[in-house]
Assembly symmetry: C2
Homo-oligomer: 302 residues x 2
């Protein structure tokens, strides 16, 4: 590929996304696959990446490859240490160099961020935030990144000041797939109204969450409540309890939601019920912008 200048890689737990880019970070080609780091042994990363990008690099030598995400975890390709918050994403970038067998590749992996007290970690989200800040450099406020492990991040003057992770997404998946509720919430339907009212209930009384969960089962058994309603309520109770816990982050703040799926709308609706009008931002674009920004910092091009 004639104009190929570098390759950007977002390598998460369950997915791999790769972009071929030119000197101006313009996309020449891209692909995604389900070869997440959790499904790979350490010796499999290089051959897999090489195979996937073989039609891009044929004949080329020493192509820079920059990766972010769980690929840098202890169980990944090579452990990229966490930098500590507060951390200035616009000035600093930390990465590790991977020694590859094939010298056509010059691979670096970006490190995640850690917070000492309360203990917390992120890996991948820092790159999305970097991408967001590369466009909105003056942003001061809160970035919410919904997902399996939702992050609430305080950003000011280009710095990640502090953050908290909530396990809500994973909890919703466990409750709806493995718990006594699995048959009661087994539906693709959705009720925005039931969701919002459950969010409000749970924000006001987060301590009721574990009895609220069982109430869903009882409402199924005794009142034959529709599964779509029960599913919306389960989500509402969980996100409501999360919002109660994350209140110091969003209350009276400027909030942006950085996501690329339905979850963005769900969190937006939940926050609106609390009088917070959050902006939604495209996460895939932020990831690529963040990798581009980090590439420029590492390779001295601005």
């Amino acid at each position: 590929m004639k104009e190929l200048y570098w390759i950007a890689v977002d390598w998460g737990s369950s997915n791999l996304r790769v972009w071929a880019l030119d000197k101006r970070h313009k996309i020449l080609d891209s692909f995604s696959s389900s070869d997440g780091m959790l499904s790979l042994e350490i010796v499999e990363f290089e051959p897999l990446l090489l195979e996937k990008i073989s039609n891009w690099v044929a004949g080329d030598v020493n192509i820079p490859v920059l990766c972010c995400g769980m690929v840098g975890a202890k169980q990944g390709w090579l452990e990229a240490p966490y930098a500590t918050v507060p951390y200035n994403l616009m000035q600093d970038t930390d990465s590790v160099k991977v020694i590859c067998r094939d010298n056509r590749l010059d691979v670096r992996i970006l490190g995640g961020l850690k917070q000492n007290n309360p203990a917390d970690v992120m890996r991948g989200e820092e790159t999305q935030i970097r991408g967001f800040l590369s466009v909105f450099s003056d942003f001061d406020g809160i970035i919410c990144l919904p997902g399996t492990h939702t992050k609430w991040v305080h950003v000011s003057a280009g710095e990640v000041v502090s953050f908290r992770t909530f396990i809500s997404g994973e909890l919703f998946a466990l409750m709806s797939n493995y718990s006594v509720l699995k048959y009661s919430v087994n539906s693709d339907g959705w009720s925005d109204q039931e969701f919002k009212s459950a969010v409000s209930e749970s924000i006001s009384n987060p301590q009721k969450i574990f009895s609220d969960f069982f109430k869903l089962r009882a409402d199924d058994l005794l009142n034959k409540v529709a599964k779509s309603v029960l599913r919306s309520k389960l989500s509402g109770y969980i996100i409501g309890a999360e919002l109660a816990g994350a209140k110091p982050y969003w209350l009276g703040q400027n909030v942006v939601i950085l996501a690329d799926n339905n979850l963005s709308k769900t969190y937006k609706a939940a926050l609106e019920g609390q009088g917070i009008f959050a902006q939604e931002v495209d996460a895939t674009k932020c990831t690529l912008d963040g990798l581009s920004q980090a590439f420029s910092l590492i390779h001295g091009r601005h």
Copy 2:
């Protein structure tokens, strides 16, 4: 078996317990097995029970068998309807008769209890409470039945007045076996001090529970905190949030814990941290006493 007068059965989701009893409800023999109702099809209940008790009933005719527990659920042997609280366990007993192929058996299944608002159900616990009340007939207060789905039950003048179920036990199992925490809490060890301090934190701030969960993971990654400590904290956070939600039940009340495993000590310790000195009661004895009491009500013997 010469003196055999009736057979008591506690048939739960995962286990079966059976007692052979004489006229005075004295135990002649007993056994337990892992043939819980969840592992059985409807046509398998009668043959299984017959096979297990064949050496008791040989030659006998029309032996009364009284069952409690999930065997009376929709997916069980025969659905035994829920009675509605308030319900007087000392005066009333509701059961259904199972038509068996083998006429040596005269089987009845006790029904559970339901509460309309907030919706809630129990199946099996009502028999344990009945057994407790058959001994402590003047008890007025709260019975806590810890387990997969922990119940807090208000009892007065022989009546179950109201109750709430918390999904805490199941949540602990899901978090420790299937979530991102599974490697961090993988320990048999226990720290009473860490448990109690987590209970207190969580009672004061139940809305932090989903970030507290993730903090356990981060404390493992960043601070190499011992897995036994993380496991004790996970339990403490969950039970603390439950106690926060169940406060209207235990605050300033007379509390009894009805359980037959370590969970009893765990709940006792958690409540003591809140100034509540709960009595522990043996659950197996309560189950058998409850079945005996119900048998006497049904068959007119007191």
